[in-house]
């Protein structure tokens, strides 16, 4: 008599569609998934431990390396948390440039998500197109910070330097061209029968379950929960901009795809509004105990040099207390919980990683579906292992 037994299959950590070093141990009944055990930690670098041994400014480059597809969102959450502890006000120009760069980062991160998600399901063309547009964001990064990925551009109190003159035109040209490119992607995917067959009804998670699993960001909005930190608990001047928060209805991969595409269009609108309101002014708070002096002072006067040296080597003391700052990062709510004991280093810094929490729901979303659909579910969760493992 023929018998069937369950098969255990190892997927990852070296697998092209696990987006990094994610390992999934699958239990299969034929082609149907009956159990998933994710195994993470391959990229654990101890960022939280390291930050306890570094001054507040020295931690900023570590945050670049969390979600390496969205470095400026990570920087933003961190500097906002430290500024909250210090209770310092950031100049308007710095806030506006932060918003522009956070939204550029959202575009870039969503472009990579779209490219890889489509490639995983078999749409090669979109991958090439989306990376072409992403290149412009990388060039903008390079223009203002000198680095394409690990930007390290924001500082506690503002920005590391003002943006160059050509920045405005470059960003404006980019956001003006983006809607046409988005139409192009949608033309390739939204009504494409293969895309629709692979994504509609795939990875369904109800709103109640999504909240129970702590899912945040576009993945939660895809399940129909109308909640966006930028609108509901605004930071860095987001209350000044008008934008729509898209929500899905069917809680599936297709709706999450639509939500992210609308988010990209809305990001372009936010950037345009921010560019229109950008006025000349200082980009660093007037707070010499905390902020670096202007570069011309450092190079031309002994006081400026000493000031720079003191901030760079000793850092600055931060009042005793604890704060939590959440930002709507590209993957969901990215939170920084910092406990200060009054010294120049965080006593404890906790990073609340959106990808880590969202990944937990993978079992709920994929048990009962075919193994080939798992690839689409990993894609739609939009995880980055640098952030999961920290």
């Amino acid at each position: 008599m023929a018998t069937t037994e369950k098969m255990t299959l190892n997927m990852g950590p070296q697998h092209p569609s696990t987006h990094g070093v994610l390992r999934l141990v699958l239990e299969l009944d034929g082609e149907v998934i009956t159990k998933i055990t994710p195994d993470i930690g391959y990229l654990h670098r101890g960022v939280e431990k390291l930050s306890e041994h570094r001054t507040y400014h020295q931690t900023i480059p570590l945050t670049d390396r969390l979600d390496y597809l969205a470095p400026m969102s990570n920087n933003l959450g961190y500097v906002l948390a430290v500024e909250k502890l210090l209770a310092i006000e950031v100049p308007e120009r710095a806030q506006t440039i932060r918003v522009i760069m956070a939204e550029m980062t959202r575009l870039q991160s969503h472009l990579v998500w779209l490219a890889c998600h489509a490639l995983d399901i078999g749409a090669m063309t979109v991958f090439i197109y989306a990376f072409r547009e992403r290149e412009v964001v990388m060039e903008t990064y390079e223009l203002i910070s000198g680095a394409r990925m690990t930007s390290n551009f924001f500082r506690v109190g503002g920005l590391s330097m003002d943006v160059p003159a050509e920045f405005e035109k470059k960003v404006r040209d980019f956001v003006e061209s983006m809607p046409a490119y988005l139409d192009q992607y949608e033309g390739l995917l939204t009504t494409n029968p293969i895309w629709v067959k692979r994504t509609v009804g795939n990875g369904v998670i109800s709103a109640e379950d999504a909240i129970d699993f702590g899912i945040t960001g576009p993945a939660l909005r895809g399940s129909g929960v109308d909640w966006d930190l930028r609108r509901d608990n605004p930071y860095s001047g987001y209350e000044k901009y008008k934008f729509k928060v898209p929500v899905g209805e069917n809680c599936d991969t297709f709706d999450r795809y639509k939500v992210r595409l609308v988010e990209m269009r809305e990001a372009c609108k936010i950037i345009t509004q921010a560019l229109n309101s950008l006025k000349p002014g200082p980009v660093l708070a007037d707070c010499p105990q905390v902020c670096y002096p202007p570069k011309e002072n450092v190079y031309n006067s002994i006081e400026g040099l000493i000031h720079h040296f003191k901030i760079a080597s000793e850092g600055f003391p931060v009042p005793e207390g604890e704060v939590y700052q959440g930002v709507e990062a590209t993957k969901g709510e990215l939170g920084y919980y910092i406990v200060s004991d009054g010294g120049n280093k965080p006593y404890r810094m906790r990073i609340r990683p959106p990808s880590f929490v969202n990944l937990q729901a993978i079992e709920k979303m994929s048990v009962g579906s075919m193994i080939a659909d798992l690839v689409a579910i990993i894609g739609t969760l939009d995880i980055v292992l640098g952030e999961i493992d920290r």
């Binding site: 431990k49 379950d209 906790r350 880590f356």
Partner: protein, 162 residues
């Protein structure tokens, strides 16, 4: 003020005996409670006060600073009311155990596993309490303050670390 916070008012009514401290700092309200009532308080906040999203569970090691070495921290958020609340519960080193919040929120599962992995705090009634970031055979808990930055059994770093 913290006294007028909607959650603090209700908690003082219902759980007056287990509240240790209420603090407001930079507009954020923190309520420190006794760890024995943590599940009752968290479920009450979820069911009756609409704190439906458990954003984070973490811990802080106050080695040599406080009588109870660890502090377990829960960050709550209310999607309908759009406000935050932080609940903390002290946990002593000699009895480093606390009830698991997985019975209230599923998201607590991995978050508590991480606290167990990096701090060595045991969550009772947790469905799957294993290490999550470190390897299963790892010794020690890296985020404890007495755990060396370089890892155990290694020469301390001689260069400058700020």
């Amino acid at each position: 003020m913290a006294e007028n916070n909607r959650a603090v008012l209700k908690l003082k009514e219902k759980f007056a005996a287990s509240i240790i401290d209420v603090v407001e700092f930079r507009g954020e309200v923190t309520v420190t409670v006794n760890k024995d009532d943590i599940i009752a308080i968290l479920s009450y906040l979820k069911q009756s006060l609409q704190y439906n999203l458990l954003t984070d569970v973490t811990a802080v090691d106050y080695l040599g600073k406080r009588a109870d070495r660890f502090m377990v921290v829960y960050q709550l958020y209310s999607i309908p009311q759009k406000d935050r609340l932080r609940i903390k519960a002290p946990v002593a080193e000699a009895d480093s155990r606390i009830q698991s919040a997985t019975q209230v929120w599923k998201t607590a599962n991995w978050l508590e596993r991480e606290v167990y992995d990096l701090f060595g705090i045991t969550f009772e009634n947790h469905p799957d309490l294993r290490r999550i970031l470190m390897t299963p055979d790892w010794e020690g808990h890296p985020l404890r303050k007495d755990y060396p930055l370089q890892g155990p059994g290694r020469e301390p770093y001689k260069g400058r670390l700020s």
